[in-house]
Amino acid sequence: MTIYIKRDNLREYEIPLENPTLLQALKYIKSELDRTLSYNSSCGSSVCGSCAVRVDSKERLACAHRLVGGEVIEPLRNTKVIRDLVVDSHYPLSFNQKVQTWLIPQSDKIELTQESEAATKLQSNCILCMACFSACPVYEVNHNFIAPFTFTRALRYLKDARCKDEIPILSLLQTDGIYECTLCGECSAACPQDISSKDDVVALRNLSAMSGFVDPNFLSSFGGGLEF
């Protein structure tokens, strides 16, 4: 089969393997056809998050995607391409630091309940592959928009019974955050772990409203109404 890889230009590669994963094809290219192809991979079993790329404009883990032939392979979007299929991860990952997506350990013991554990099961399956980040259309207009995986991580900790104060994380989600999301669902479609950051944004909006944060769009629509 033939596949195409977007590098400095679109290159064509002939892969004589039967029903390979994209990662197997990349390894074949590297060892047999072209040593100059750069890509990242590690575990080969869909859990380390290092091999996400775009296949025919859809985000996929190279190790989990079976090729049929004719596919166009590209690096992830919305961040700098370092070389071939390798992109800069520093910028997308910086959003976790910005939103402080972590638990602040408490001195008194708080039990995680079975219910609370079940509620964060999906969100804590995130492998930080950055597929959702690449799929998100908001970056075309706003580079400061908080990464979809950061919303998911924020919700993971906010819904954890051991989280004592929800306000710090919620307050960091108000600007360039939950209200800028268009709820288009591209992130959900891209996630190899079946997480929906879109749904998590909706949940975060509800949590924000319950904690007294106000949707700025809601305010401005009222402001406009009072003027005439």
């Binding site: 590297k30 060892s31 047999e32 040593r35 100059t36 750069s38 890509y39 990242n40 991979s41 590690s42 575990c43 080969g44 079993s45 869909s46 859990v47 380390c48 998050g49 290092s50 989990a64 370092i82 070389r83 071939d84 390798v86 991860s89 520093h90 990952l93 976790n96 630091q97 402080q100 997506t101 972590w102 638990l103 602040i104 350990p105 408490q106 013991k109 039990e111 995680l112 309940t113 079975q114 554990e117 964060t120 099961k121 804590s124 399956n125 995130c126 492998i127 930080l128 991580r153 993971r156 900790y157 954890d160 051991r162």
Partner: protein, 501 residues
């Protein structure tokens, strides 16, 4: 007071635990890693982490089980230390946010794994390692650990027998960097990746830290003890966790008959399967009788992996499996404070031999080991004298070494050699060994080493040159393979995972 400057190499579970602990104790901490912090091998641990925390269990039983499985090759004091520290380790992980699965009374649920006399493994479905690793990473960000990613360890800076830092290859630019420290902790992982497609490990788990440490004067310990996991998917070597058997899965032969105690120690189960395969039979892991609801609740990852990589839904059909290399029991020799033969160089996790697994590791003890000993490594690293940080050293030798790897006239494809090394290690230094096979393997490896001059990196681009990284990994694999074979040849009688015919 001046802060202690600590360099940690490796950002898997061990590296991140050491980083959090050292930072909380007041050190300035920099973690160097080959890719990104959450890409490491730890995310692949599925089954659980052991601690005697329920009334049907006791620390004494945990110690006994671990020692029994280790077959005299563990240090009972170290095993005792680890098992006694286990409940506290779980408590700490729970406190920082690991979402351990709960039972109906909201206490941490535990499952049975092989060789255990009680349900002892705390788990987060079958994503235990992933969830621990990511929680640790988030905590590193909270306490302000500095990460420098895409750095491959090349050398240690050792002056008068004291480790004063490390030299790395900055993968983004192919240039050398040096990082100076008062103490250094290696948490670089094991070496089972050198079994290539015959391993559950990531292809880049090539024991780089062990190779570098040994070349710099550290000692090795027990490298011949390589654990073969009984149940990897047959065609892809993707791991199916022991929890599948712990939750009641069966091993079946070609006649769909059970043939061994599924929850025996891993070395014995692996050999029982291997014997069937040598007889030409196929071996299957069957969890169909557990039912779809149970599988989706407790073993969701196993189902996903089997469907994806073997095209078999384990709800309907047994999964074809084979044993492959999984865990390095051996590693860098260290004392009971994780100190190596080089002063101010400490080790934690799979790259070290903490003398707790001996000849055969129990499932659930590796995640425990990394928490317990990374904590000890961090505490001891802080005790290293805060001498003045050395100024930059001359890296001419390292630079010449890297330059020498570029060889546009290479006539031998090292990727082909790597494949030969992988298959030789599996067939000759595998589940069943013999003096003849080991001697033959040594010869193959020595001949390969002689061919290295005809190999090299063809790609001259210095930006993110992954061929250079893979060639360095191959050289480390080749170096360690020889060490493993030599260690195996020295141990003439069978012991646990080292089985001699």
């Amino acid at each position: 007071m001046q802060n202690s400057k600590i360099i940690i190499v490796g950002a898997g579970g061990a590296g991140l635990v050491a980083a959090i602990k050292a930072k909380e104790l007041g050190a300035s901490v920099t973690v160097l890693c080959k890719q990104r912090p959450t890409n490491s091998q730890t995310c692949m641990a599925q089954g659980g982490i052991n601690a005697a925390i329920n009334s049907a269990d006791s620390v004494e039983l945990h110690i006994q089980d671990t020692l029994k499985s280790a077959l005299g090759k563990a240090d009972s004091k170290m095993v005792e230390l680890m098992c006694r520290a286990a409940p506290e380790a779980i408590e700490w992980l729970d406190k920082i946010g690991v979402p351990f699965s709960r039972d109906s009374s909201n206490t941490i649920a535990q499952r049975m794994l092989g060789g255990a006399s009680a349900a002892r493994a705390c788990y987060a479905q079958d994503y235990t390692g992933l969830k621990i690793l990511h929680t640790l990473y988030d905590q590193c960000l909270r306490v302000g650990v500095e990460f420098v990613c895409e750095q491959m360890l090349i050398d240690l800076i050792v002056e008068d027998g004291i480790c004063r830092g490390v030299v790395t290859l900055d993968i983004r630019t192919s240039s050398l960097q040096q990082f100076h420290s008062n103490a250094t902790i290696l948490a670089t992982g094991g070496y089972c990746g050198l079994y290539g497609e015959y391993s559950t490990n990531a292809s880049n788990t090539t024991g780089d830290g062990i190779a570098v440490a040994l070349r710099s004067g550290a000692m090795s310990d027990g490298l011949e003890f390589v654990q073969f996991h009984p149940t990897a998917l047959k065609n892809s070597s993707v791991l199916i966790s022991e929890s599948a058997r712990g939750e009641g899965g069966y091993l079946l032969d070609s006649n769909m008959k059970r043939f061994t105690d599924e929850l025996d120690a891993r070395d014995k189960v692996a050999r029982a399967i291997y014997d069937k395969m040598i007889d030409g039979e196929d071996v299957y892991l069957d969890i169909t009788h557990l039912g779809e609801d149970f599988i989706d609740k407790h073993l969701p990852q196993e189902r996903k992996l089997s469907k994806l990589y073997e095209n078999i839904d384990p709800v309907d059909k047994p999964m074809p499996i084979r044993p492959v290399a999984h865990y390095s029991m051996g590693g860098i020799q260290c004392d009971n404070q994780t100190q190596t033969a080089i002063t101010a160089l400490f080790v934690a996790g799979e790259c070290a031999n903490h003398k707790v697994h001996g000849a055969n590791r129990l499932g659930g003890n590796s995640l425990l080991e990394l928490v317990v000993f990374a904590t000890i490594a961090a505490e001891n690293a802080l005790k290293a004298p805060i001498s003045q940080i050395t100024s930059d050293i001359d890296l001419t030798n390292n630079k010449e070494f890297i330059d020498s790897l570029f060889n546009e006239n290479a006539t031998i494809n090292f990727y082909h050699e790597r494949r030969l090394l992988n298959s030789t290690m599996y067939s000759h230094v595998g589940i069943k060994r013999s003096k003849t096979k080991l001697t033959e393997a040594l010869k193959i490896v020595e001949q390969m080493s002689q061919r290295v001059e005809q190999m090299g990196v063809l790609d001259t681009n210095k930006t993110y040159n992954t061929e250079l990284v893979e060639f360095l990994e191959f050289l480390n694999s080749l170096y360690l393979s020889r060490q493993i074979i030599q260690a195996a040849l020295k141990r003439e009688s069978s012991c646990g995972a080292h089985y001699m015919e």
